[in-house]
Symmetry: C2
Subunit: 185 residues, 2 copies
């Protein structure tokens, strides 16, 4: 193969983790936005990291409560993900109504969860790494639930139509929905 | 849908980012291992975060040099990824030889890169968040290159057979290789 050097945009090469919808609220206001840059950082007790713009409308609720919901959509929610990632809560729009999202009451945090997401993690922030315009939030998962058709014996399964959604940039996403088994040589 | 509560293993829900092979070396020793938990954390200048076990054989070289390579495999490399993620460098095995990996000289760091990976990022650590048994490494991308068949106009493209590889756990991976375009409602 021939490789070309990338002067900018190298981040796009690592991009396609599962895009998630982050929800937050303080009982009064609330918001939801899309986050492509997220990952687990500890197995047990589970922790996650998300990268969040500090000027996002929803970030004020995370800062105030120290809590957020991670809502994992599958490919059926692609337009809702795009909408939540494109429209700012600062416009005054109710994204739940605008994009047909159904609130689901969380067990341990104030933030509303999204019923349509196939999985929801309730998270409490433990550390904030200031990145300037953005913040890297490290958080403990205090409660988690998942559609039992898509998670069997502690593993994601694709037999029942699960299509994981990964963000490539702009309106472009890619989908993963089939398992490949590695073999030890 | 019905959702079940997850008492442990919630991290598996966020798991399938693109698995990468991390290479590091100090000019004397070197190593390579697989990392599922990685993400971009800044666009420009590009930065990445990876989660790394502090007892990994290869981590000593990252600690010593402050540098590592992120090598992004596609699905053709699934067995090499599994091997590099399963066999420890502490056994004395040369993983490059054992798994048929070809060294590629980096431009700005001492670590060898992997020629078979469709993309390579050369990284310098800027911050270490101690997570106990593991460390969250924040790093700047100082050089990056990619197979020009798979990255056009700053975007990953799948027309030439690219299959992104995501780790689900154990020997299980999933593959993403088709684009889905979101539509604004």
């Amino acid at each position: 193969m021939s490789k070309i050097k990338i002067e900018s945009g190298a981040y796009s090469l690592l991009n396609p983790g599962c895009v998630v919808l982050i929800s937050a609220g303080d009982g009064g206001g609330e918001g939801v936005f899309a986050v492509t840059w997220n990952m687990p950082i500890r197995k047990d007790p589970a922790m996650v990291a998300i990268e969040c713009g500090q000027n996002h409308y929803t970030y004020q609720f995370i800062r105030k409560t120290g809590e957020f919901g991670v809502n994992i959509p599958d490919a059926k929610m692609v337009n809702q993900v795009l909408g939540c990632g494109t429209v700012s809560g600062k416009t005054g729009v109710d994204k739940f109504e605008r994009f047909g999202l159904t609130r689901q009451t969380a067990e341990k945090i104030k933030a509303p969860l999204l019923a349509q997401a196939f999985a929801n993690l309730e998270c409490r922030v433990t550390q904030v790494v200031d990145m300037g315009a953005s913040a890297l939030l490290l958080a403990q998962v205090v409660s988690a639930q998942v559609d039992d058709r898509h998670f069997v014996d502690g593993q994601l399964v694709f037999d029942n139509g699960l299509q994981l959604l990964h963000h490539l940039g702009g309106r472009r996403f890619c989908v993963s929905d089939r398992v490949l088994m590695g073999e030890m040589g």
